[in-house]
Amino acid sequence: MILIRAISLLMAMLLMLPFPACAKPGEGVPAVRVSAAPDSVYAGERVICMIRVRHPEGLLAALELPDSSALAPFVLVGRNRSSSKPSPGFAEDRFELELAVFGSGRQNLPEFAIMFRDSEGHRTGRTHHRPEASVYVKTLTPSGMNELRPFKPPIKPEFPFLLLMPFLLAAFVLAGAVLLALFLVKRKVRLFAETVDPAQVAHRKLRKLGSRLSGGLAPVECYDQLSGIMREYLERHYHIRALEAVTQEIERDLRKLGVSSFDAIMTLLKQSDLVKFADSRPSVDESLKSIRQAEDLIGSGRDGGG
């Protein structure tokens, strides 16, 4: 029994070691540690004062504060208490005081007393403490101010938009450049398409058709394609609807335009119609002759039209 008591006493002493010497730890003597955070505030702001009392198990510690006038320049806003058993045979009571601070300059924490009672409620001792810890009060308000400053909500770190600005600007500039390039390319393609002479295109196709005819293409097929080439040329050169129009509609449109080679164009289209719709079977020579006529027509139409 004596041995157990000796061991617990030794352990208690070891635990007391890190405590500051606000009160010297010893057998049956509680150890008290006081701290305050933050140690520097503006007038009206609050500090948390933590009082830790370590004492042998079986005792109850109670905090006694002076009345409010004696607490000045501190104002007690709230208090909280908790207990724990950090080691066998010992208990620790923690008193958390929320204090608003006024005045200016360094302010020592208020004095307080700890009352101890045994498990039956009998008073066993009372210790008085004058904390060495202090709080520095910065004054940005009149020194007579004694109202509580409201709690400031924690300020979240702002997203660094300014840092992103160069990237955003670069992205906008790049997108603009791409759009401009696309616009210019499209315009260029359109201008190119407009400047391509439909007569040149038709001539090239007619030459190709002629060589295919010589290579064995059926004359019926030849007239089918010849009609298509002529219609495409007429549509692009005279800006009339020819590809989806029947010969009579083309005839009406060309007559309105007063095309000089009107008769020759219509003869050629009607010949093609005869082959396509009237079961006409032209010879290769006739087909070649029609291709040559088409070439001449397209050559003569360069001046007029569109």
């Binding site: 590809l243 989806e244 009579q248 010949q271 119609d273 005869l274 396509k276 719709f277 009237a278 079961d279």
Partner: protein
């Protein structure tokens, strides 16, 4: 370059055989001012053995056109005013009791004529409409236990008033489909109306029209029309036009797909071909071109397309669909 030898010969025959139509047209124009296209469509229907649904507001000389046409073509004409209390017997005829021989004898109705003007067909109940449309299809009617063939040629021109629907019985789509063409009779042009007014005020009587068609002219013309050459390209073009009314998106007309509830039936393809051949005959040609098809496409397709709710809400007419289709389906 010449067309195929057979077609060249046929072309010459057609040129000779179609002269009677020019003569008839000239006679009709003595009495009817303007409405040339309507008259041409009536010729086409007669040659192609079809029937016409005429639609137009009152006072556009629909009855006069048909009566004059029948006179010039030397055809027997009957006008039947359809009313809500009509019975099929009023149309086809009925069995009449003869007290002399104490037997029932069939008495033929007004349907027994070459050209029938069924005025305001939508005023008669469905059973009378059905009797007429059945006669149009079968070219014969049954009275009692006897069946009688209708005269040849037999053509019905039914009229409808587009602005007055109260007390009418709308023709079902299936029955409208039996009409080869639906022709819209429009107001005359300003100058034409001036001439109509002057003519009516000057004489007060209608100019005489002579019958210029001989018996057999129409039959001969129909035989020649049967021989008119139709290239497979044109046949495909006709089918393309009709299929485009059913599946517009297949022809790059996706916007029409939601607008059309039902497209034209295969009967449309048949009538398009027959009417195009008759049109080519009127042009004195022995073959048909896409122009012939386009020329009668509106009249042949407009009543066979059933617009959807969206089209009706947007006041889009079937003629708009036909126009779009003609502009998008590639011509051979």
């Amino acid at each position: 370059m010449q067309q195929a030898a057979g077609l060249e010969e046929l072309g010459r025959e057609i040129a000779v055989a179609s002269v009677f139509l020019d003569r008839a047209e000239e006679q009709i124009s003595r009495r009817i001012i303007g409405q040339k296209e309507v008259i041409r469509r009536v010729f086409i229907a007669l040659l192609a053995n079809g029937h016409i649904l005429l639609e137009g507001v009152p006072g556009l000389a629909k009855t006069l056109i048909v009566r004059t046409f029948a006179s010039a073509m030397n055809l027997q004409f009957q006008r039947i005013q359809f009313t809500p209390d009509m019975l099929p017997a009023d149309l086809v005829g009925t069995m009449v009791y003869n007290p002399k021989d104490m037997e029932f004898h069939p008495r033929q109705g007004p349907l027994f004529a070459n050209v029938i003007l069924a005025d305001e067909i939508n005023r008669s109940p469905a059973k009378v409409q059905s009797a007429l449309l059945e006669a149009m299809q079968e070219k014969q009617v049954t009275i009692g236990s006897s069946t009688f063939s209708l005269p040849d040629p037999f053509m019905v021109l039914a009229t409808q008033n587009p602005i007055e629907h109260e007390g009418t019985y709308l023709l079902p789509e299936a029955q409208i489909d039996r009409f080869m063409m639906k022709v819209i009779v429009d107001y005359p042009a300003y100058e034409e109306e001036l001439e109509i007014m002057q003519q009516a005020a000057a004489s007060g009587t209608i100019p005489e029209v002579m019958a210029v068609v001989e018996a057999g002219d129409i039959v001969r013309a129909r035989r020649l029309i049967d021989r008119i050459y139709v290239d497979p390209r044109v046949q495909r073009y006709i089918v393309d036009l009709v299929v485009a009314t059913r599946n517009p998106d297949r022809y790059g007309l996706a916007s029409l797909a939601a607008m059309i509830e039902y497209g034209a039936s295969p009967r449309a393809s048949i009538f398009l071909l027959l009417a195009a051949k008759a049109h080519a005959f009127l042009q004195h040609r022995a073959y048909i071109t896409p122009e012939d098809v386009k020329a009668i496409a509106y009249e042949t397709l407009r009543h066979r397309i059933i617009p959807g709710y969206e089209a009706e809400a947007d006041n889009i007419k079937t003629d708009d669909f036909v126009r779009e289709i003609l502009q998008h389906v590639q011509v051979p």
